[in-house]
């Protein structure tokens, strides 16, 4: 048993459901007790999702506990098959129902015999893996299932597209700024003359998964989810992939250089990589494509860095100069924490005292990435540990998750949120990507705004600060001919701060109208009722 107050990564079934509900026309059935289906609430509330979350709980109750699920799960699968005719129905237990050790695979087999949808059991150990690992695993399982299915019925497309193309793997629902990142990434690829073949799982159809091998290569923007799928495709279909996250100016350039070199290799290897046999003329023309031409790639990077992204200029500006050497702590998932550490140090000259991640399963990679960029590395999923370190270091700003934002609030240290777990604030209506060149602008804004203001503290003192005038409390009764008795005062103090003044004013107005000099509880409540009129 572990005393736990907070979790950075959710339980396994959340990862599975995120993958399932990101695909279009896929329905997930949860084998779970009442209330375990809160994923529906998260998706509908956090993302303001307009569609019903395609997740149904087949409820485990006292009867199921006593006699087993019997027909219940099978019936629920078949019912959804008829009601929504999805392409795929994915069955998953939760931590709770997985202990029941019911033979869910058997249910799946029985149900799939009689339903027109494909039926799969998400194959995840709910006590050993977290949300991110489960998502990674489930995505791979679904991709593998459909590729193998296509192989069997010989509908698999292995001939590459004529022009360079890529799959983006790992964009999905309830991801940290994933929608914006996806848009930005698509723009970046199209600027480079690369077509996007498939984006999975967000918005993709499972029936299209057989087209995955058509792309020249795969992009895994976040290493938390998608690496398993990418390496499966690499092994089975000889598809190269990049796992460089195009976050920050430096890493975006290396991302572009890497995909350029991948494209070059695919192009050179020609028939080996299943490129369609084209006549010489077309092939020669392709050589002029931006992505296959080193010089063009470099000038694109240069152009973007100088003119599209304002981040490089920000780094040189006097505002950023004032940030030089300021102490920060960075914490988040492996991808975002590592990238952010490098951006702060390399691109802004800020001192990262401690960089950490809660992705314990990816600790080695993280250590390697941030070594040399920070003084201290922290791998933990215990929020109090990172809280202690923050209060010890007393950094000028924190870049972390919602939890660190809370820690910061308590210690009066500003915090920029750079990583999941997601919060409704991570679904802004405006365009806020973290990836690509537009992402660099967003990150610079975030960094700048996080550090109080650009001006040094001593300058603030010289200019007498910003809002240094105290707010005069608005009190209706300056003469104060009214008296609040003990109970009423206590009651007033229980009223939430933001409406207390209003309640006080209304009550006193009522008391004055009624000519009651002493305000009692009864007067207070009566005033409330009177205001209702």
């Amino acid at each position: 048993m572990k005393l736990a107050y907070w979790m950075y990564a959710g339980p396994a079934h959340i990862g599975t459901l995120r993958v399932a509900s990101s695909f279009k026309n896929v329905h997930a059935i949860m084998h779970a007790p009442l209330g375990d289906d809160y994923f529906n609430v998260m998706r509908s509330m956090l993302e303001r999702e307009r569609d019903f979350t395609p997740v149904t709980a087949s409820i485990v109750d006292r009867h199921v506990l006593a006699r087993g699920s019997q027909e219940k799960v099978v019936e629920n699968i078949q019912r959804k098959d008829k009601e929504e005719s999805p392409d795929l129905i994915l069955l998953t237990p939760t931590c709770t129902s997985s202990i029941l050790q019911e033979d869910l695979q058997n249910f799946v087999n029985r149900a799939s015999n009689e339903s027109s949808s494909d039926v799969l059991l998400a194959d995840v150990n709910h006590y050993r893996v977290n949300e991110l690992q489960a998502a990674d695993r489930t995505l791979e399982q679904i991709v593998r299932f459909y590729i193998e299915k296509a192989k069997k019925d010989e509908s698999l497309t292995t001939i590459k597209t004529e022009k360079p193309s890529a799959n983006i793997i790992g964009m999905f629902t309830l991801g940290f700024h994933n929608q914006h990142d996806c848009k930005e990434l698509k723009r970046l690829l199209s600027d480079l003359g690369i077509t996007v073949n498939e984006i999975i799982p967000e918005g993709g159809f499972v029936t299209q998964l057989k087209n995955l091998p058509k792309a020249w290569f795969n992009i895994v923007p976040y290493r938390e989810v998608g690496l398993m799928t990418a390496s499966y495709l690499e092994k089975e279909h000889n598809m190269p992939y990049t796992s460089i996250t195009p976050m920050g100016i430096v890493d975006t350039s290396s991302f572009i250089r890497e995909i350029s070199s991948i494209c070059h290799k695919v192009y050179e290897a020609g028939s080996l990589t299943n490129l369609p046999t084209l006549d010489v003329e077309v092939r020669d023309k392709m050589k002029d494509l931006k992505i296959l031409n080193k010089k063009d790639v470099e000038s694109f990077i240069d152009q973007q860095t100088t003119f599209v992204s304002q981040a490089a200029w920000f780094s040189r500006s006097i505002d950023c100069q004032n940030l030089t050497g300021k102490k920060t702590v960075v914490f988040g998932d492996a991808t975002h924490a590592a990238c952010m550490t490098k951006i702060l140090v390399r691109e802004m000259g800020i001192n990262v005292v401690c960089a950490g991640t809660y992705c314990k399963h990816d600790a080695d990679w993280f250590r390697e990435q941030v070594s040399g960029f920070c003084d201290q590395v922290l791998i933990t999923d215990d929020h109090s540990q990172i809280g202690d370190i923050i209060s010890q270091i007393e950094p000028a700003a924190i870049f972390g998750t919602q939890m660190e934002r809370h820690v910061g609030k308590r210690l009066d240290i500003p915090c920029g949120v750079i990583s999941a777990p997601v919060h409704i604030q991570n679904f802004p209506l405006g365009f806020r990507p973290f990836l690509g060149y537009e992402g660099t602008n967003q990150i610079s804004d975030l960094v700048y705004n996080s550090f109080g203001l650009g001006m040094e503290d001593h300058l603030l003192e010289i200019f007498n600060g910003h809002d240094n005038k105290e707010v005069i409390t608005r009190s209706y009764s300056s003469e104060n001919e009214l008296q609040w008795n003990k109970e009423a005062s206590a009651e007033l103090s229980r009223v939430p701060g933001f409406v207390r003044a209003k309640v006080k004013r209304n009550t006193e107005k009522y008391a004055r109208d009624q000519k009651t000099p002493i305000i009692t509880l009864e007067v207070m409540y009566a005033a409330k009722e009177a205001v209702a009129a």
Binding site: G35, C95, P421
Partner: protein, 525 residues
């Protein structure tokens, strides 16, 4: 670990009890059956609902009952809640409810890991370790263990371990099984209060005061118990008479009124509790305590002469516990939600205490008159309850009284006995307002409900959080049912807030209609 074989003895009888003759209700209820017309109606109220009542598949969404932790830890200020469950439970608390851990968290998860599930570790030792840590860090007056589905499945004997452990660490431990296998959302509070009722001190002093020999009272208690067990109608009358005669014979100088104590159960913000208390005080009734109290040490004393009355419809198990285990007398009344409900609630308590209520009718009238404008706005509009927090019957009754038309009342679980007073008032209100009895659907199926909503096109759907945005996107106006769980809706004073909740979504739409570009619904269908 000892496997607890007898699981839920109380619970089982209770759930099955809907088939028990209605009159049993009155046995345990009150000695003042014949005091007024109101309470003689009582027997008929326990009769099944005259409207359509059905039970669907139960494929519906609601919150897990452990969510009660989020409001109970705030209510009981010196408590610590330990939820013994998996990551799934923990993530729910932190995420779906948006409950953040602030500076001094007074609840935590005892997260069960693989070694706990496979019984490689000793549950007792593990819980002791965690509780000692809690004692050291927070030193609470009480630790509430919240059992979850997982502790049920692995049959962790929490009730068996608690007494030994509380003796060892010196902090009382309350064990509540707020699991999703048996309960829905707000019933979590019910499990906690039912367990806490066991920890309330006994009201013995009172018995001595009235010079009643302890031995005699013990015998009588035994009799009451027996008669309750056999639960036949004539037995019932015997208990009733013996009870009332005993208080009269025992000590004539002390009037009947003073002998009775009133304890209210259900957690309410202090402000609302004060307001309800004040309403009763106006009628000359003092509330001697609340379950739960703001501090664990202030739990009310319970015993034979204590009358108890609930303020929320989801507290049926607490009611049973108070009656059967603590020998309290339950006042079965409608719930103090809306001016009509509040009046009926106060009236019922007055009846039991032999007081003729004064000024109640006018008070209700004033509230209604003051709200005429808001009521006119919602009058004639239709509403559909998908079912979430078990407050549905009371809310529907109030809205019907306001002139709304209720198409369907979905409800996770319906205890017809505990809600008898409320159901009767619902019927009465329907007759008064000349509307048909709405259909009540227990354990609804959300999919079918959405089909019905599409067909009926109600003006307002009161629904759980999972369906609100998708329904809005289909041009259906919604209100979150959880808001009614957390908002202050009890008593006369808060009627305006209650109406505000219902009318805000309708007003929003009306405001948007004035702008062409916004008036387009995002109908997806």
């Amino acid at each position: 670990m000892v496997k607890n074989k007898k699981r839920f003895p109380l619970f089982q009888t209770f759930r099955n009890s809907s088939s028990i003759p209605a009159s049993k209700n009155s046995v345990l209820e009150t000695a003042n059956q014949s005091i007024s017309v109101e309470s003689s109606n009582e027997t008929s109220t326990a009769a099944p609902y005259s409207g359509q009542f059905e039970c669907e598949t139960g494929n519906y969404h609601t919150f897990c009952p452990i969510s009660c932790v989020s409001w109970l830890y705030q209510k009981i200020e010196d408590s610590f809640f330990l939820v013994i469950g998996t990551k799934t439970c923990g993530y729910f608390l932190q995420n779906a409810l948006g409950v953040m851990i602030f500076a001094e968290p007074r609840y935590a998860m005892a997260e069960l890991e693989e070694s706990d599930i496979s019984a490689q570790l000793n549950d007792y030792k593990e819980l002791k370790r965690l509780c000692l840590q809690i004692k050291q860090d927070r030193n609470p007056s009480v630790i509430v263990w919240i059992g979850t589905c997982t502790t049920e499945i692995i049959k962790m004997d929490l009730e068996g371990m608690a007494p030994t452990l509380e003796a060892e660490i010196g902090i009382p431990i309350v064990v509540a099984r707020a699991n999703g296998l048996d309960y829905a959302f707000t019933q979590g509070e019910d499990t906690v209060l039912a367990a806490m009722a066991q920890k309330c001190p006994a009201r013995e002093g009172r018995l001595k005061n009235i010079n009643l020999p302890i031995a005699r009272s013990a015998i009588r208690a035994d009799e009451t118990l027996k008669s309750a067990r056999t639960s036949v109608e004539d037995q019932a009358t015997k208990t009733v008479t013996s009870n009332s005669s005993n208080s009269i014979n025992a000590d004539p100088p002390i009037s009947n009124k003073q002998l009775k104590e009133l304890v209210l159960f259900g957690s309410l913000p202090t402000t609302i509790a004060n307001q309800l208390q004040l309403e009763l005080k106006r009628q000359g009734i003092n509330v001697s305590g609340w379950l739960p109290s703001a501090r664990y040490s202030d739990l009310p004393a319970l015993g034979e002469n204590v009358y108890v009355c609930g303020i929320n419809p989801f507290l049926s198990r607490t009611a049973t516990s108070l009656m059967r285990r603590r020998k309290c007398k339950l006042i079965s009344a409608p719930f103090p939600i809306g001016p009509d409900g509040t009046r009926a609630w106060v009236e019922k308590i007055c009846n039991v205490f032999g007081i003729v209520p004064t000024g109640l009718e006018e008070r209700e009238k004033t509230i209604w008159t003051n709200l005429t404008e808001s009521i006119n706005f919602i009058k004639g509009k239709s509403v559909f309850f998908m079912g979430d927090n078990l407050l549905e019957i009371s809310l529907a009754r109030f809205l019907i009284r306001c002139g709304m038309v209720v198409y369907e009342i979905g409800i996770p679980y319906m205890d017809k006995r505990f809600q008898a007073g409320e159901l009767a008032l619902l019927e009465k209100t329907c007759i008064k307002m000349k509307v048909p009895f709405p259909r009540i659907v227990e354990k609804p199926d959300n999919y079918y409900q959405i089909q019905r909503i599409k067909e009926l096109k109600p003006d307002l759907v009161i629904t759980g959080m999972a369906h609100a945005n998708p329904l809005e996107a289909r041009g259906i106006t919604t209100k979150w049912s959880v808001e009614f769980t957390f908002a202050q809706i009890h008593g006369f004073t808060n009627t305006k807030d209650l109406l505000e909740l219902v009318s805000r979504p309708l007003r929003r739409n009306k405001n948007l209609e004035n702008h062409d570009s916004l008036s387009k619904t995002f109908a997806l269908q």
